[in-house]
């Protein structure tokens, strides 16, 4: 691709169990940009994240994905990660018997104790968490913050963050955004998935997603205005050829 985008998604279609959950998504993320994807429950935001990360269950039946000008549509998850794409899951997995320290070191194998402590500090966590396990013993919010600090340590080229703000009540919005800005200023691009319009509003640019489609792209403020005023009920945005699709909006 010739444009200076880092990520370029074109006409992406993903189907799961007969449901067309992504219906021709096109979007892009530029280098160093914080880009938001806003949308209500069930819009397809997580599915888009999985498709970009390359999860085989979300392999597109149509459309292509380019990263740094290379067509990565057929690449596996590991290959994409090694090229610099990573994803913080909406509900990050738990690992029995794994120390937070060892988990964080996956992102930066040569990290010293100070690096790990700094990464935790950025998400308002004390160093003693390094000796906790990444298992069920962590609260949902703690687990998510650890995921954010692991992404910070990775310094990926593109960080996809699926609802990094949900469940993270102790981190004020400003602090979450501060972390993303730090990532971006370090040269990473950040794609933030959210259904909080204030988070989207703090991005450089946003997309509004509805029923498996991007229905709006623009300044974060404009997208937020649209989301608040016109987006409901979203069902009006029925995509064509839906026939079978029972897109349930929670």
């Amino acid at each position: 691709m010739l444009e200076p985008q880092m990520l370029f998604v074109k006409d992406l279609e993903v189907e799961r169990e007969g449901n067309r959950i992504l219906r021709g998504i096109s979007m892009q993320v530029h280098p160093g940009e914080i880009c938001g994807v806003l949308g209500r429950n069930g819009a397809g935001k997580s599915s888009l994240a999985y498709a970009i990360m390359g999860l085989p269950q979300y392999a597109p039946r149509k459309g292509r994905i380019w990263f740094d000008g290379e067509d990565i549509t057929e690449w596996g998850v590991t290959e994409r990660a090694r090229a610099g794409i990573t994803l913080a899951w909406q509900h990050p997995a738990r690992y029995e018997g794994i120390l937070v320290r060892d988990y964080l070191k996956l992102s930066k194998p040569d990290a010293g104790e100070e690096d790990l402590e700094e990464a935790l500090k950025l998400v308002q966590m004390e160093p003693f968490y390094l000796d906790r396990m990444v298992d069920k013993g962590l609260s949902g919010g703690e687990r998510k913050r650890i995921e954010l600090s692991s992404i910070y340590l990775m310094k990926p080229r593109l960080a996809i963050l699926d609802e990094p703000d949900s469940g993270v009540d102790l981190l004020a919005l400003g602090e979450v955004m501060g972390l993303f800005k730090l990532l971006a200023s370090g040269g990473s691009s950040v794609l933030i998935i959210t259904h909080r319009e204030d988070v989207a509003a703090a991005c450089d640019r946003s997309y509004l997603m509805c029923a498996g489609k991007m229905i709006l792209e623009g300044s974060a403020a404009a997208v937020k205005r649209y989301f608040l005023s016109q987006c409901e009920p979203c069902v009006e945005q029925k995509p064509e050829n839906t026939g079978e699709a029972a897109l349930n909006h929670a």
Partner: protein
């Protein structure tokens, strides 16, 4: 004192590399025994602990008594092994902790070259009132071949005594493993915790049979098994807790992870033969969830490395 044979040096260096406290073997203030085949290469006791060990045709007979109120501060190091690729070793032991005593034992069973080998541990353990005994058995096997391993323990626990047993294979093939542990917690408020962690590969066969009878009032038990099976390996787990006394409480917690063509059977059995006992269980057999593996792959790990990482935690 012991003669520093090659066998001694090899066994001890492996034991130290796999969880043994470096410098323990040969130390003046640590209790230890090192046995190669049926030869006792070294043995050291301390006041308050009696060790009688004799060589038999295919192993040793040992009797260990921790005398009343003796608190053994440093872990007792036992090292049993053989460097040959075939043969047999049978370790028969009787361990008695007298009232109020406590000790932690680490047994290192080391068979780095075993291809056709039988290693049996026949232990009888008796914990006197108020004593505490923790027994950790660590195995190091060869990278190939089938070793037959038969750890069998019969444990009796008096009132307020605490038993903790832990079996881990840290290196090499499981081979053909049959753990058989039978505990009777007949003392009031006695406590039992039995843990097995096994990683079966290729055509390994692992069978774990942990049985705890809670016949003492208010006695408690936890049986925990983490079995990971890949390739064509097979595993069978039987965990049984019988709550047979008022206020007895028990729990069986078994997770078997199966990859490849491996097969697993888990039977957690809980029974309350006394109406005021409470026993529960959780058992899961399954593959490692995709999201766990993919979460690690998104950090750049290969699928295999991701599985090994998850397994390292399960078996920790």
């Amino acid at each position: 004192m012991h003669n520093l044979s090659e066998e001694y040096k090899t066994l001890v260096s492996i034991a130290e590399r796999t969880g043994g406290q470096p410098g323990s073997f040969g130390s003046e203030d640590v209790i230890y025994i090192v046995v190669h085949g049926n030869r006792i290469l070294a043995s050291h006791a301390l006041p308050g602990v009696l060790i009688e060990a004799s060589e038999t045709g295919d192993g040793i007979d040992a009797r260990i008594i921790v005398q009343a109120q003796t608190k053994v501060s440093k872990p007792v190091h036992l090292c049993f092994g053989h460097l040959a690729d075939s043969g047999r070793q049978v370790i028969r032991s009787r361990i008695f902790l007298e009232e109020g005593s406590s000790a932690e034992f680490q047994a290192h069973c080391i068979f780095p070259n075993a291809i056709e080998f039988l290693h049996a541990m026949e232990g009888e353990i008796h914990l006197g009132p108020g004593s505490a005994f923790s027994y950790r058995e660590v195995h190091v096997h060869g990278p190939e071949g089938r070793i037959d391993v038969r750890p069998v323990s019969r444990v009796r626990i008096d009132e307020r005594a605490v038993y903790r047993g832990d079996f881990t294979l840290v290196e090499g093939r499981v081979g053909n493993l049959a753990i058989d542990i039978d505990v009777e917690a007949h003392g009031r408020r006695s406590r039992v915790e039995v843990t097995s962690k096994i990683y079966g590969k290729f055509d390994d066969f692992c069978q774990v049979r942990d049985i705890v009878r809670l016949t003492g009032a208010e006695s408690t038990a936890l049986i925990k098994a983490r079995v990971v099976l890949k390739d064509r390996s097979q595993g069978k787990f039987l965990g049984l807790v019988d709550g047979a006394a008022p206020g007895a409480r028990g729990h069986v917690d078994c997770t078997e992870v199966v990859q490849g063509e491996a097969r697993a059977v888990a039977s957690p059995v809980v029974q309350a033969s006394h109406p005021e006992a409470e026993v529960t269980h959780e058992a899961a057999i399954g593959r490692i969830a995709d999201e766990k593996i993919q979460g690690l792959m998104a950090k750049g790990l290969s699928a295999d490395a991701a599985i090994d990482f998850v397994v390292s935690g399960l078996l920790r």
